[in-house]
């Protein structure tokens, strides 16, 4: 087996991974930094982010207000020290991206322009039309091309972390093009593998978002944090699940039920006004809007379609000029994929799984409890998103904590010896496992797609927008059965060259692990908070649950959950208030 070695290995080439790679390369140009990615970096799903990236930029805004919005939006589940670091560094990171060439939208005088976003008190979301993630990712990717010390392993799929002596020392990866399996060792590994939306049947997430990094870390012995908090975005196109960005509402779009009524006014989100009011109505937080949809559906006020019930997003009053200038991609997506023009027609939308608040548990520098293992971006849980992420906080999170993890890993690597010889044995065993379980096995009877569909249906039914003990227990049982059936999975493809079926099988294995973790955490959290709503425990319970869930996997595959207190610095838990005037709270509630 071929073995390659680096000082720092990034798994993932999205926003977080590329930012971390540049950070590590800049700390010490002598370090050898490598990026392993299962797709070419510019294909990573960061590319699809539309609306923008939050960072305080204007004199009428303040870091405290950004912090308060984030913390209250997260229903007080955020670690406040992490949030404080985040809001402080976000503007600098966005500025750094500007210096690297990101084509941010501008004011007429040439300064950066910012837009409103859901749950935010002030305008602070930087944007590049409605293709923010695309421009950020390509800017980062093109910038990495100038750094000689960054080696890329494009289209390499990581199957396992190598651990010895309690220290992560590298990975085993398949070179997809040739099918060659190889070990890549490193003094520090940073997971930047993104989210896991594909565990669910209806999602804005790309085909590549399968929670790989979460499962890899958990299998290696690191805990996952807050996995029960799954964000549903209120406005996905039916059938495809393609996202209509929140920017559409920030620019003034209305949410209408089947009677053309702005139904959000019935759900403690303020009174309807003709133009958008921050933290109010359509600019409320995503968890509350998605929950309002379910209630509206129960009242029979949604519109039935072939692909489930929908409500309407109305942009018509914004006019063609504004839509073309600020929301061109929304128009393009509606026309191309839904065959409707938002300038003259209503857009059918429904809640869609969008983002994972939980992930690999890390500290404020991206370090996991395992030596040598770091995580950043959507795969990680730092945690700044708490029980509900605010739109436009995730892209800057990738930058801030990507950079922090890159720095921390570079420092750690400098003091480490080369990996132990024992990892070679582990790598050889992994090759054997892949061959026996998949490539050489001809007796498998289960089809990947069948198991995947059953998993997706099960988790949606058991751990969707609303949950309860009985349905969660049923889902737990069913996923366990699917795990057992997965042992019997069979491939049509036994070739080596570009075997995408093998990759799909491995991804399904990761997703099943992630599904189990989501359900387990949801079952034990007997309260309702943010995106986790239990019909049998409808209230938030700070006495028992102002704490992060940590879920670990033991070697027999069983899971255990325990809790870690939330870090409170200046903002004691309060009530989440939205609607007119709610933003004043951000100035009042800070205690020093």
């Amino acid at each position: 087996m071929e073995i390659r070695s680096h000082d720092i290995l990034l798994v993932g080439g999205g926003g977080a991974g590329l930012r971390a790679a540049i950070a590590a390369a800049e700390v010490n140009p002598k370090l050898s930094v490598a990026v392993v990615s299962k797709v070419y970096p510019m294909r990573s799903h960061t590319v699809s982010a539309e609306g923008g990236a939050a960072g305080v930029a204007k004199p009428d805004d303040s870091l405290d207000e950004h912090a308060y919005d984030t913390i209250s939006g997260g229903d007080w589940m955020c670690d406040q020290d992490a949030v404080e670091a985040f809001v402080k560094e976000a503007p600098l990171e966005l500025l750094q991206l500007e210096r690297w060439g990101c084509p941010w939208n501008r004011e007429p005088d040439g300064h950066i322009a910012v837009r409103a976003f859901g749950g935010m008190t002030n305008k602070r979301t930087w944007f590049a039309a409605d293709k923010t993630g695309f421009h950020m990712l390509h800017t980062l990717f093109q910038t990495t091309l100038k750094y000689q010390p960054i080696t890329r392993y494009d289209e390499y799929f990581v199957t396992k972390l190598l651990v010895d002596d309690g220290r992560v020392q590298g990975v085993v990866a398949i070179e997809i093009m040739s099918g060659k399996i190889q070990a890549i060792t490193a003094k520090a590994v940073i997971l930047c593998t993104g989210g896991c939306g594909r565990v669910f049947p209806f999602t804005t997430n790309a085909n590549i978002k399968n929670g790989d990094g979460m499962a890899l870390a958990q299998r290696a012995g690191a805990p996952l944090k807050d996995m029960e908090f799954v964000q549903y975005h209120p406005t996905g196109l039916p059938f495809t699940g393609i996202l209509i960005t929140e920017a559409a509402r920030a620019e003034g779009g209305y949410m209408l039920n089947k009677d053309g009524y702005r139904y959000l006014q019935d759900y403690d989100l303020g009174k309807p006004q003709p133009t958008p009011v921050l933290r109010s109505m359509e600019l409320g937080p995503r968890d509350r809007l998605s929950q309002a949809f379910v209630k509206e559906d129960q009242k029979g006020r949604t519109i039935p379609t072939e692909y489930g019930p929908v409500v309407h997003l109305d942009l018509r009053h914004l006019g063609e000029k504004l839509i073309n200038a600020k929301l061109p991609f929304v128009r393009e997506l509606c026309v191309k994929y839904q065959n409707i023009d938002p300038v003259t027609e209503l857009i059918p939308v429904r809640p869609v799984v969008h983002y994972m608040m939980g992930g690999v548990s890390t500290d404020i520098n991206g370090a996991t409890p395992m030596a040598g293992l770091y995580a950043a971006g959507e795969v990680a849980c730092v945690s700044i998103n708490g029980a509900n992420r605010l739109g436009s906080n995730s892209l800057p999170e990738c930058l801030v904590f990507g950079a922090r993890a890159g720095h921390a890993a570079a420092e750690f690597a400098a003091s480490q010896k080369a990996p132990n010889g024992s990892v070679w044995t582990q790598a050889t065993n992994e090759v054997l496992r892949l061959e026996q379980q998949y490539l050489h096995k001809t007796s498998g009877r289960e089809r990947i797609a069948t198991l995947r569909e059953e998993m997706q249906k099960t988790i949606e039914a058991g751990a969707g927008i609303y949950r309860e003990e009985a349905s969660l227990k049923q889902a737990r049982q069913k996923i366990q059965e699917l795990q057992e059936r997965f042992e019997n999975v069979g491939l049509d493809d036994h070739g080596r060259t570009f075997n995408t079926e093998l990759i799909s099988a491995l991804e399904l294995g990761f997703m099943l692990d992630v599904a189990q973790s989501i359900i387990e955490c949801a079952l034990y959290r007997a309260e309702s908070r943010g995106a986790h709503q239990r019909t049998d425990f409808p209230k938030r319970d700070d006495q028992k649950f102002l704490a992060h869930s940590l879920v670990r996997r033991s070697s027999d595959g069983s899971l255990s959950v325990d809790y870690l207190p939330v870090k409170i610095t200046h903002w004691p838990p309060g009530e989440r208030k939205y609607g007119e005037g709610s933003h004043k709270a951000s100035k009042q509630t800070k205690v020093s």
Binding site: Y40, G101, L145, K146, A206, L333, G495
Partner: protein, 257 residues
């Protein structure tokens, strides 16, 4: 509307085949299905060995480009019904690229070309971040914005006859991205890019067929970028005779803040 459609798909596995062949699959014809949905249907239900790339299925990641009835297309953005009740839809790998397997082509050569044109902001001696952003008015942004929209899908390479004849040709997307930075008022790198761009394998390789612009799903207009650059390069070349060295690469006005 018929309820079935036949896909004729190019198959090639280097471990098994000497050359590509076609295989037909009948799939349901649904009005909301794109070509990619049909491929996924086949892979999930009929033949797990069918090999192709895809990810975002929203026309932005650039991975799903293929030849569909002879035209380079993003298969996630091409409805099956747009081929009407035609008997068959032919799906092949992007033209002019080496085929790895079935519908997957090699991208490594494109990335080498991309890196060669230095597609990053060149601006030595930047003031510290605390000095704030470089200023750029909306009009200055508009000058290059269109060329920054490239998703690297390489459809334009599959459409370009010059790429077919000369594998060294830098090609439409990379040239457009070079021009994207040349036109950015924050960039001072046009002189560094000159040698690669004003070269027989660069802009002078382009015979202005314009196919790249026609097939580009993101309206990048690489042909326009190349034409524009030909003019600048010709002028620079003339200036290099009449002005002292150093002048020809005088940076465009750059505002700091």
């Amino acid at each position: 509307m018929a309820d079935k459609i036949v896909l004729e798909i190019a198959r090639y596995a280097p471990e098994r085949d000497d050359k590509p062949s076609f295989q037909s699959f009948e799939v349901p014809l649904r009005k909301e299905w794109v070509v990619l949905d049909a491929l996924n249907y086949i892979k999930d239900k009929v033949d797990g060995t069918l090999t192709y790339r895809w990810s975002c299925r929203m026309g932005i990641c650039g991975s799903c480009g293929m030849m569909v009835n002879g035209e380079p297309k993003l298969t996630c953005a091409t409805f099956l019904t747009s081929y009407g009740n035609n008997a068959t839809v032919r799906v092949e790998p992007l033209r002019y690229f080496p085929v790895i397997r079935d519908l997957v082509t090699a991208l490594s050569d494109f990335l080498v070309k991309l890196q060669k044109v230095k597609p990053w902001l060149i601006h030595p001696n930047q003031p510290p971040l605390s000095a704030g952003e470089f200023l750029q008015t909306p009009e200055q942004l508009d000058l290059y914005k269109q060329f920054s929209m490239c998703i690297n899908c390489t459809l334009c390479y599959a459409a370009c006859p010059v790429v077919g004849l000369d594998q060294e040709f830098v090609g439409p997307a990379a040239l457009a991205l070079a021009q994207r930075y040349n036109l950015d008022n924050r960039d001072q790198g046009s002189a560094e890019r000159l040698a690669t761009l004003a070269h027989p394998d660069g802009i002078w390789g382009c015979t202005f067929v314009g196919e790249c612009t026609r097939v580009c799903p993101k309206h990048v207009d690489p042909a326009g970028a190349i034409q524009q650059y030909k003019l600048t390069a010709a002028l620079d070349w003339v200036k290099s005779f009449i002005l002292p060295r150093g002048h020809k690469d005088a940076p465009q006005e750059t505002a700091h803040d």
